[in-house]
């Protein structure tokens, strides 16, 4: 397969895929005819050329793969076109619970409550419904509380490859600590 065709094939795969796509999966689809390296190279080329020209899609790496998304500046028009009034912003409480789950996963609700100093069950519920967190078993302690983890949806929503890619808040408050001391 020549280069142009490969890029076109990759484009077709990425545009029809429902989630993030790994170069491994594309290589498999060609029966390993094309190696992962060549595919990764072609994807990068594609990403760069889309970035250059004014285009309606961009390629981004998140949740361990590549996917096609629209640039943010078209949101208003797309919402009008798709008839979606506005998306719900995450509340501060929800963001705090997400932050705790992202950093300490797997983590239980009592642990989250302790860190926030307040009951978070309603918030956790909302995040479960929005599929930003998921139940991941039960902790082997008295009462067997459920463990929570972030989902792939969480990674996609925040454009992360892994949950660990979130900045460490410890580093963020460091300067203030020094100032305080």
């Amino acid at each position: 397969m020549i280069d142009d065709s490969l890029q076109a094939l990759i484009e077709a795969v990425l545009l029809t895929a429902r989630g993030p796509v790994t170069s491994d999966a594309i290589s498999l689809a060609t029966d390993r005819e094309i190696g992962e390296g060549a595919i990764e190279e072609a994807i990068s080329g594609l990403a760069a050329s889309w970035e250059e020209a004014e285009r309606g899609v961009r390629l981004e790496r998140s949740a361990g793969g590549w996917r096609c998304v629209t640039p943010p500046q078209f949101d208003h028009y797309l919402r009008t076109f798709h008839g979606i009034a506005s998306r719900q912003k995450l509340s501060q409480a929800a963001l705090e619970v997400l932050a705790i789950v992202a950093h300490r996963q797997p983590v239980t609700l009592p642990e989250i409550n302790f860190i926030r100093g307040t009951n978070s069950s309603a918030v956790a519920r909302t995040l479960l419904d929005r599929r930003l967190i998921r139940l991941a078993g039960r902790k082997k302690v008295v009462g067997k509380p459920f463990l929570y983890r972030t989902t792939k949806e969480f990674l996609l929503h925040f454009g992360l490859e892994r949950a660990e890619d979130l900045p460490d808040p410890e580093d963020l408050v460091e300067p203030e600590v020094a100032a305080d001391a």
Partner: protein, 279 residues
């Protein structure tokens, strides 16, 4: 999103700087707006910042007093003060009393240590939440492309990796609901609570004593439709046997039952029933 029950608490006096994105303002009136505090730690961090003191050296005495003032203000405003706020108030009082004792008499270490740790941990969470907040704003504006592959229909399948206990439970309940809708519970036929013979006897006796029975009025006094049905059947049966006569002067007016020309003897009711059944 429904308001978190635990999110209570107002507090700030005007003139305090708050990041508007991170605080939900509660309009209480034309002039006062009080931000919600998302728990006692949130309120404490606010007080620490407002007083421009170090988190590592919290002036417990004054912070404790200010905290209690806020709690009182919340109560004055008739806002429900959640238990965790009160619990923290008690903890602060305890710390205050420890701080008042000469250091040598207290147990080893700074009594504020645990509080500082919790505040630091919570502050970290807030920092990260604020990063997520900014990301959320931008990322909300992004749409995934979704061209439908030309060769076949699109199936909405779930990512097995993402299937958790909640999805499993939801699916189960959906299936069971669908099943219940397709299999409505059978109509239960309860044994009759009223007996036609008894009612025949009852009516027959009334007619024998009073010579007349206003049937419609009699039926209307019975709240139980099942009894009404049995009474009607009994009345018709008595008329059929000639033991009663039904009279109505104009359509829809009262139906009067009177004595018929046939006498019923004890035992003949059972026979009547059997005859009726043979018909």
């Amino acid at each position: 999103m429904p308001r978190d029950r635990s999110v209570t608490g107002p507090v700030i006096l005007p003139g305090v700087e708050v990041n508007p994105d991170l605080v939900e303002l509660v309009p209480l009136g034309p002039s006062v707006e009080l931000p919600f505090f998302r728990g006692p730690l949130d309120l404490l961090l606010h007080l620490i910042r407002k007083n421009e003191v170090s988190i590592y050296d919290i002036p417990i005495l004054s912070i404790c007093d200010q905290y209690h003032e806020h709690i009182r203000a919340m109560q004055d405003l008739d806002l429900e003060v959640a238990g965790e706020f009160l619990w923290m108030a008690a903890w602060l009082l305890q710390l205050k009393s420890k701080m008042l004792l000469p250091r040598s008499e207290t147990e080893e270490g700074d009594p504020r240590e645990e509080l500082v740790e919790r505040l630091l941990a919570y502050r970290r969470v807030r920092e990260l939440a604020s990063i997520l907040h900014d990301k959320d704003l931008v990322r909300q504006c992004i749409w995934p492309a979704g061209v439908i592959a030309d060769f076949g229909g699109e199936e909405i399948d779930l990512d097995w990796e993402e299937v958790d206990l909640q999805i499993l439970a939801e699916t189960y309940l959906q299936v069971m609901q669908r099943f219940a809708a397709a299999h409505p519970p059978p109509i239960e036929v309860l044994p009759l609570r009223y007996n036609v013979q008894d009612k025949m006897r009852e009516i027959y006796q009334r007619i024998a004593e009073d010579d007349i029975l206003p049937l419609t009025r009699h039926l209307n006094r019975r709240p139980d439709p099942e009894e009404v049905v049995v009474l009607i059947v009994a009345a018709l049966e008595l008329v059929r046997l000639g033991a009663a006569r039904a009279e109505q002067s104009v359509p829809f007016s009262e139906i009067y039952l009177r004595r018929g020309n046939r006498q019923l003897e004890e035992g003949s009711l059972d026979r009547a029933e059997r005859e009726g059944a043979d018909d």
